[in-house]
Amino acid sequence: MLSQSNTKKSLLREVWKKKYAYLFMLPTIILIGIFSYYPAFSAFYHSFFQWNGYTPGVYIGWENYKTMVQDPVLIKSISNMIILLIWGGILAVTMPLFTAEMIFWLKSKKTGDIFRFLFVAPVVIPSVVGWLVWRFFYDPTIGLFNTILGWLGLPPQTWLGDPNIALYCLMFLGFPWVNGVSMLIYLAGLQNIPSEIFDSVIVDGANRFTRFFKIDVPLIMGQIKLLIILAVIGSIQGFTLQLIMTNGGPGYATMVPALWMYLNGVAFQKMGYACAIGVSLFIVIFLLTYINTKYIRSGTEYEGS
């Protein structure tokens, strides 16, 4: 008890000692509180209300959450989200890592720099522009893909207009799926591995695959974890792709929970229900992030005895 009180006192003393630093941080803390924490708490609070976002709401308890469980569109959108989540996770740990490995092991540093620039340069183009180009590719009447199918003597497809394949068309979008920033993060991870480890691997006679799985992957597990978390968050929160390309259609074929939340909140003025969906998405993201950080272990983390 005495020790706890001493610790508290020393903490307060430390804070008081650095009071000017805390004073300078205060505006930032206040702004974060207003613009980041307040909306989040407000969403949680309003998830228990029937609220249109503009006029005072009516308290309805857990009703919005009960509606969620029975909402067939939300249920359908969750299955779409799971598919996109798995796909996003696979993409996060494959194509950018594969590209980073190839660039890292190039013999010429200059060539490596050129490739690194070429992969990262498209990042400066807004993703919406890329999506609009892809929408042209998928256009059933004048699009690129149907033109190619025509050359090959194959029947045209309706792509985004076909409820059976629209979701897969969205997944294919962005091929070959090398995200420049992810690739840079992996590359930085590989460059951080001490060269002595690679030398010893060569001396031991391990082949490239053994080196990749036994050395590279465990030692860049921190980066892999980070990119998986980002992919999970992106897949759960993201809806702009669906909004621009398909508006969640045809029917509800490409609907995702975040887009359904947006439509309910903004288009249908059911802000209370949208808040309930948002809070649920937060809980899912939080749990998945926790599982990821807790159970996927990084090769550079060591347990004390």
Binding site: P140, T141, I142, T158, P163, G249, P250, G251, A267
Partner: protein, 466 residues
């Protein structure tokens, strides 16, 4: 010396600021919507001219043209609601009347009725401003509480535009009945051309309700319309439809409703591949990929003035559904014409009376026939609602006194959530994702859910839920 200078400086600045305050003009922010000057491709100028003229007449008033430039859509509705909530909306703002119906019970809008009873000083001999408008204008925009929150100085409509050269090549004429229309579509399709452009995810407007309302308007029995249209306004508003749904008068399994979707599905064979996705129909038409499409009146000046168009084009009426085409055919010419134009004016309710009076005065000035005609003819895509104002050329098939509008307006007058779900379920049915009976049962549930929600939100309607 320095002290003296400071005193003089203070006195001069005091006099200057007081005189500035006295000279300050009242600023009225006005959203010109589709009539915004300088926006490509039309680069309109007339609204600026009208504003300058008004400011000359009223040197104490400044008219500032404002707005988002986002023509319609949810982003605009969100923007204007936020502005209204923070009491910072333009003094005269644009909103479709049916969008206004979803919001009027929040008390944000001014009722125009007192102003409509006053004379318009810019129209010689006018005793009531309301008299310069066609009476149907107020019938249509009147909110379910009986008040008029929207002055609609113009209207829009839709029509079929067709490629005359393709019709000539294929050897077909303009069809007048549904059966002949289907034959024409089949012949065009056989020639390798996509006959008709339709889409459910257009950049501007959902395509389904335009088409289905023509079909439903041609099938709905007269006695049912009389039963639904309680206030005899010529169209069924959200209050009337909600009442009919909860009382079981209007159901998705009514024969006319089911027949309309049977015809719709038959029609869909002639639409472009991928019609359930997003298609730019005007572009497909201008590049001769489709032989015809269902165009808005605002498309007409763009098609007419397109420098790259290499074919002759025309507009045609929607074909009439006769008894031979369907046992429920009513043999009626259905036109699509409604108060969704670029000149719709709302005034926020929170403004002081003096500002409201000035805002209303400017609207009176713009609506005067000599001013409105200049705006309407320059833009070319809207139809005037003021008597004696010439309509632009090319819109003849949109406004025809012999035609009747669909009283249900394709259900667009319900809610935006209803329309979203309606279109998606229609997509599911037309693309064979769900069978017909399932579609009808989902539609019925949608009608019931929407009607009950609306009745709960509008206790002032006095409709009881059982």
């Amino acid at each position: 010396m320095l002290k003296k200078c400071l005193v003089i400086l203070f006195a001069v600045s005091l006099v200057f600021s007081v005189s500035l305050a006295y000279a300050a003009k009242v600023t009225i922010r006005f959203d010109p919507w589709a009539y915004r000057p300088g926006v490509p491709p039309q680069n309109l100028k007339m609204m600026n001219v009208i504003v300058e003229e008004y400011e000359k007449l009223h040197p104490d008033v400044k008219i500032e043209l404002v707005g988002t430039g986002a023509y319609g859509g949810q982003d605009y509705v969100t923007w204007i609601q936020t502005r209204l909530l923070t009491k910072d909306a333009p003094e005269v703002f644009w909103l479709n009347f049916d969008q206004g119906w979803e919001l009027y019970n929040r008390g944000w809008f001014t009722d125009w009725t007192p102003y409509l009873g006053k004379p318009n000083p810019y129209v010689p001999g006018n005793k009531r401003w309301a008299d310069i408008f066609y009476p149907y204008t107020f019938k249509e925009v009147r909110a379910p509480d009986g008040k008029i929150y929207d002055i609609a100085a113009d209207a829009v409509g839709t029509t079929i535009v067709y490629n005359k050269d393709i019709f000539k090549r294929v050897g077909v004429g303009v069809p007048t009945t549904w059966g002949k229309f289907m034959d024409t579509l089949a012949k065009i399709k056989a020639s390798g051309i996509i006959p008709f452009g339709n889409t459910t995810f257009a950049p501007c407007c959902p395509g389904y309700h335009w088409v289905i309302q023509r079909i439903q308007g041609g099938l709905i029995p007269k006695d049912l319309v009389q039963q639904l249209d309680i206030d005899k306004s010529g169209r069924v508003d959200m209050r009337e439809l909600s009442k009919a749904v909860v009382e079981g008068v209007f159901r998705a399994d009514l024969p006319f409703f089911k027949e309309s979707w049977r015809l719709m599905k038959e029609f869909s064979k002639f639409w472009p591949p991928g019609f359930t996705g997003q298609l730019d129909l005007r572009q497909l038409f201008l590049t001769e990929k489709i032989a015809m499409y269902h165009a808005g009146s605002w498309d007409i000046p763009v098609i007419r003035d397109d420098p790259n168009r290499k074919f002759a084009w025309g507009t045609m009426y929607y074909p009439v559904i006769t008894k031979q085409d369907s046992p429920l055919g009513q043999n009626k010419l259905i036109i699509e014409f409604g108060m969704w134009g670029g000149l719709q004016w709302y005034i926020p309710s929170y403004l002081p009376k003096e500002i409201k009076d000035i805002a209303a005065d400017f609207c009176m000035y713009v609506s005067a026939p000599q001013n409105l005609e200049r705006l309407i003819l320059e833009y070319g895509g809207d139809i005037p609602n003021v008597k004696g104002v010439k309509a632009p050329e090319g819109l003849e098939t949109i406004r025809n006194p012999k035609g009747v509008t669909d009283p249900l307006h394709g259900m667009v007058l319900f809610t935006s959530e209803f329309m979203d779900r309606y279109n998606r379920e229609a997509n599911n049915f037309i693309t064979d994702k769900i069978p017909f009976d399932e579609f009808i049962s989902r539609m019925q549930k949608l009608f019931e859910d929407t009607a009950k929600a609306l009745i709960r939100d509008h206790p002032e309607w006095g409709i009881k839920l059982q």
